[in-house]
């Protein structure tokens, strides 16, 4: 084969080869030339070769010129004396296999275009192979799907060496089809099992890829039979597993449980927990099976525990799970850092959700209220603007807790009966205490915080204040809001004349700092 310079030339040459092979079986050996180009280093050439392969084998598959059935080994057929057509078909099927392998290897290339092209070519083969199965149906209406080919595709996607998130994004559009989704779930279960089988350390990249793939699988919400298929079928049979949503659920559950039973890295764990309540739990066949994972995550502490509590709460709330230490764990989560972390909004949203029941015992709510108030003594203003209405809401929901702000004729104490170090809310004696912390916060420097804290001075109104708009409040937003506010006209001015940068002698700055 003469090489012509330039990509255009290569394309023309490959085109001619493909034409020749398709036109004349005698020229079949040209396939080797095409496959050789597949292993080239040049990106353009590979792309041309992949396109050529796609055209060539696409046409062959459509024509049915590949051997159908259990594939005998190449040597045996060549040596045998069967018909030349059969020999050709078997030989060509072998070339097809090697082409698929090559494409599978290309998935690991660095160039995204190549990867993308290889993926789309493979998926095209999957489709064609599904329509023109390469195995003989065992009975009439047997469901045939190129499992082997598809497994290799999924295996290639779940690489342990490279981050395939972009490619997985591309793959996501195939997951719209019900059959592809179903088989992906099966293949992914296999792939995860294979990757972790007997290996102590699994690289983070694999977990990332696996999580990206798994999280992009989303089952339909409504109860309807799967109907959109990637591989076109003339008629659908009721006997096929793939047409039942129940089977899909089973596969989904297997996939996730198989994934979650491993010791996941903390970051992956967090990401899983973030989507648990929304996209995993509702689709599981038996959601209570998640308890193992959630309980384990709950003991990790910090943000992870909180997210796990969210999942647990759904299980308790919707699926009748017994988890006696739930509120105790939540109580343990309250420490001064909750006001300073990134997930503050989520935390308070969930805490609001968890404590929304009006059937909670008063001692529990009082303990939470008291602890939140105690923590508020260290909180920045943006958090205070959330937590103060939150506390007021708790008091509104539970009239029994109003003694915390209104205890007429109570004895004067010389110490706060509340014990902040007690881990059990029942033992904390919060109900005997009062919210003196809020009284202190009435002297806060920020006017809105001061006003919010002063709400307890009057009898609380009946209607709760929605804290949803306050959750996402950042300090910068408060700052901007203050700047926008219109003040009294004219702006009040300092009447003591300035003497210098550090101010008067009594000022702290002048006491502790010098200019030179």
């Amino acid at each position: 084969m003469e090489r012509e310079a330039g990509p255009g030339g290569a394309r023309r040459a490959l085109g001619r080869l493909v034409e020749a092979v398709l036109a004349n079986r005698g020229k079949a050996n040209a396939v080797f030339d095409i496959l050789a180009v597949l292993q080239s280093e040049d990106r353009e050439e590979i792309q041309e070769a992949v396109r050529a392969c796609s055209r060539l084998f696409g046409a062959l598959l459509a024509r049915g010129e590949l051997f159908v059935g259990q594939l005998p080994s190449e040597e045996m057929v060549m040596a045998g004396s069967r018909g030349a057509t059969r020999k050709y078909r078997v030989w060509m099927r072998h070339r097809y296999h090697s082409c698929c392998n090559c494409l599978g290897e290309l998935l690991a290339r660095s160039s995204f275009q190549v990867k993308e092209l290889a993926l789309s070519t493979l998926m095209k083969f999957v489709q064609l192979e599904g329509e023109h199965p390469l195995e003989k149906p065992k009975w009439e209406g047997n469901y045939l799907f190129p499992h082997q080919l598809f497994k290799s595709v999924v295996g290639g996607l779940l690489s342990a060496d490279e981050d395939h998130s972009l490619l997985l994004c591309q793959f996501r559009e195939y997951l719209e089809h019900d059959d592809i989704r179903y088989h992906t779930m099966q293949a992914a279960t296999d792939a995860v099992a294979r990757a972790t089988d007997g290996r102590p350390e699994v690289p983070l990249t694999f977990w990332n890829n696996a999580f990206t793939l798994l999280s992009s699988v989303s089952l339909p919400r409504q109860e309807r039979a799967p109907s959109s298929f990637y591989v076109k079928h003339a008629e659908l049979s009721d006997k096929w597993k793939v047409v039942h949503l129940r089977e899909h659920r089973k596969a989904f559950q297997q996939m996730w449980l198989g994934f979650l039973k491993h010791q996941l890295p903390l970051r992956i764990c967090k990401r899983v927990l973030v989507i648990t309540h929304d996209s995993i739990l509702p689709h599981l066949a038996q959601p209570s099976l998640m308890i193992d994972f959630l309980a384990r995550a709950c003991d990790l502490g910090g943000a992870v525990s909180l997210l796990a509590l969210n999942g647990l709460f759904i299980l308790i709330h919707k699926h009748n799970l017994e988890y006696p230490d739930f509120y105790r764990k939540l109580y343990g989560l309250l420490d001064p850092s909750v006001f300073h972390v990134k997930y503050r909004a989520r935390f308070f949203h969930l805490a609001d959700l968890f404590l929304s029941s009006s059937h909670l015992p008063a001692y529990l709510v009082a303990a939470f209220t008291k602890r939140l108030a105690r923590l508020a003594l260290t909180a920045p203003p943006e958090a205070l603007l959330t937590v103060l209405p939150f506390i007021c809401n708790l008091l509104r929901r539970h009239p029994a807790c109003r003694v915390l702000v209104h205890r007429p004729r109570g004895p004067e104490l010389d110490a706060d009966p509340y014990d902040p170090r007690e881990e059990d809310p029942a033992q904390s004696r919060a109900l005997e205490s009062s919210l003196w912390e809020l009284q202190a916060l009435q002297r806060h420097y920020h006017p809105e915080v001061s006003k919010a804290a002063s709400a307890i001075n009057q009898a609380l109104s009946e209607a709760e204040v929605s804290i949803a708009p306050l959750l996402e409040l950042t300090a910068f937003q408060i700052f901007e809001r203050e700047l926008e506010k219109k003040g009294p006209e004219p702006v009040p001015l300092e009447f003591i004349p300035a003497r210098g940068l550090l101010g008067r002698r009594a000022d702290l700055c002048a006491q502790h700092f010098t200019l030179s």
Binding site: L413, S434, W436, E437, A440, Y445, E482, V491, L508
Partner: protein
Amino acid sequence: MGKARSAGARGRAPGAPAGARGGRARPSANPFEVKVNRQKFQVLGRKTRHDVGLPGVSRARALQKRTQTLLKEYKERDKSNVFRDKRFGEYNSNISPEEKMMKRFALEQQRQHEKKSIYNLNEDEELTHYGQSLADIEKHNDIVDSDSDAEDRGVLSAELTAAHFGGGGGLLHKKTSQQQGEEGEQPKSRRELIEELIAKSKQEKRERQSQREDALELTEKLDQDWKEIQTLLARKTPKSESKGGKEKPKPDAYDMMVRELGFEMKAQPSNRMKTEEELAQEEQERLEGLEAERLRRMLGKEEDEHIKRPKHTSADDLSDGFVLDKDDRRLLSYKDGKMNVEEEPSGEASSSESEEEEGKGSSAGDPEESDGPDSPSGLESDVESKDGSERTQEERRPNPGERSTADDREAARAELPYTFAAPKSYEELKSLLSGRSMEEQLLVVERIQKCNHPSLAVGNKAKLEKLFGFLLEYVGDLATSDPPDLGGIDKLVVQLYNLCQMFPEAASSAVKFVLRDAMHDMEGMVETTGRAAFPGLDVLIYLKIAGILFPTSDFWHPVVTPALLCLSQLLTKCPVQSLQDVVKGLFVCCVFLDYVSLSQRFIPELINFLVGILYIATPNRQSQGYALVHPFRALGKSSELLLVSDEEATATWHRRSLPLQWAGGLKAQTETEANHTRLSCLAVCLALVRRCVTAYGTLPSFHDIVRPLRALLTEHLAARSCPPELQELSRSILTEMEKQPKYYRPLVCEKSKPVPLKLFTPRLVKVLEFGKKQGCTKEEQERKRLIHKHKREFKGAVREIRKDNQFLAWMQLSEIMERDAERKRKVKQLFNTLATQEGEWKALKRKKFKK
């Protein structure tokens, strides 16, 4: 129509005498003429105005009025000449007849004096004095005048006194009497009369010659005395001064002096000079008022009310920002027995006065000497006098830092130009200031302010407002330069304060702008990296300046509240990674505590930060009883940043203030120096803790707030690695914490007012002139009232016009009827005559025929 309307208007005119007189209802009305409007219902409180009327009488009255006015007009409709009575005040009943006669006489006199002909130029009335032409008198010299004065004294003393004290009325009288004397038939001839007069006067003259000399002497002495007093009485305006100087009274020109006294403005009674105690008290009262205002704002009370109250602006307000908040009239005072014209100690005296006094070098005491420290220094006014142009109305501001640098400026002033255009951009300002020493820069800024004072030109306000922003930027530049020019900033702060007092709005928006900028940078950093480094020294300085310019104790303030949030962000978002960060953080804490020093408000972030600082000064261990919060970490590379383990450094350390420059950039230090810095930081931190303890001691949950601090301090004491001074400090803080009262009174809600029951009292409705048009504003009611009134008046006018027309038509008809009747009568008469003629003629013919 026009005619009719005017007639109608006349018909309604209340001043018409006949109508008014006829209008009064006679007491005994004919009962047949009375028309009663019977009311169907009695309504309580309703005024009945038209229940009884006399339609016949009023109709007759109207008719009469029309006959007098409208009919007259109608009859004279074709006449073009009018008889007009121009006698003065003939129809004016306000003037009494005597007065009327007087006025008429005066007018007549006046008419006689008028020029007979405009072509006769020499007809000017000659002005005379005692019958002599004034022109002649002016030619006499003084001696003759004084002689004649003495001559006159005997005979004409009454006239003389009248002339001196009673104005010119007597003069005229004299003249007229003389004229009368001339005209009257006298037995003595005129010459005889005059001779007699002269003889008499010479005799008297001789008699009083000696007496006169004595009097002259006395007069001179009096003059002398008067001159001394005069300076006291006269107002000290330059105009009067110059006038006084020009018209130097001649020794005997008493008349002139009297005139002058009459015209000259009297020395007005000024306020009593205030004693020092009173001044101090006044100042105290002013400060108390301001303080009360501040307290009100601090508690955040009556915010709305405050907003609603409109600001009083004078009608003369030019809204140029110039506020004369002090009366700048000076007070009369004495010093060492001499009069002292002192400027008010407010320092707002106009420079022209002081200048003039300096120029004159008068004996009236040195005005500058008595000035307080706030008033402008003499040097400054000197500058201005050279400056020359627009300095008279400028306000002067106290500039305390200037005297010390007076000598330097003396030299610098030689090169500096005296007027500066206000910079239009920051670069312009920078080019003006670059390359000059700090004193010169200050001078330049000051001169820019003076040359562009808002009261001088229209656009100056905007220029100076911009100048504030530029100066602020310049301060930021100074702070970020290496090394930071803090001394310069220190001086510029005063200028910024002054500008801020003049333009609060512009200043607040400029400060807000820089704060927003700083926060924006920090927010960007937090969003990308999750944390932010401590900002440069400029932001810290801006925050400090915001606290200097605006009252920090307000419950809410458009500038200070954002600044507080900014400070809070600095303390919560910026991790402490180096010693420089510690210094910056401590400075922020100081600024923060200064902000709340008056209002004593609670700052959770500050406590957290101090806990963190104390933590990094102790060896790491499992925390007991306290929890670190962001940005501090229990373990990590900067978790023992302030720990000093070097015994020697501990021993040699002396307490001193932290230089603020370290926040800008910390120079490389030796290990011992670094340790000293650490200990100084720790000392500052402990002092701040102590301040917090005293400030927050009264908070209800004080012990919960300071629990972590207490735990750390106990640890500190236990470690015993600090210098004894610091240990002592920590111990005293701990005892002070213990001393704070521990009482926990259960909270009780304020009793809310019970909701009042609904009461069924009748709603009271104001019945307005035009009926019950309720539910609208006052303006709307007023409008409706006017509309109603207009409608009613319009109807009345239309009715009047209609009646006028009816009247006229009736008059015309009666005229026509009269005319017709006349014609008929005449025709009848003619027919009669003709018939008689015919009869006669027939009789004649018959007679003839018979014959």
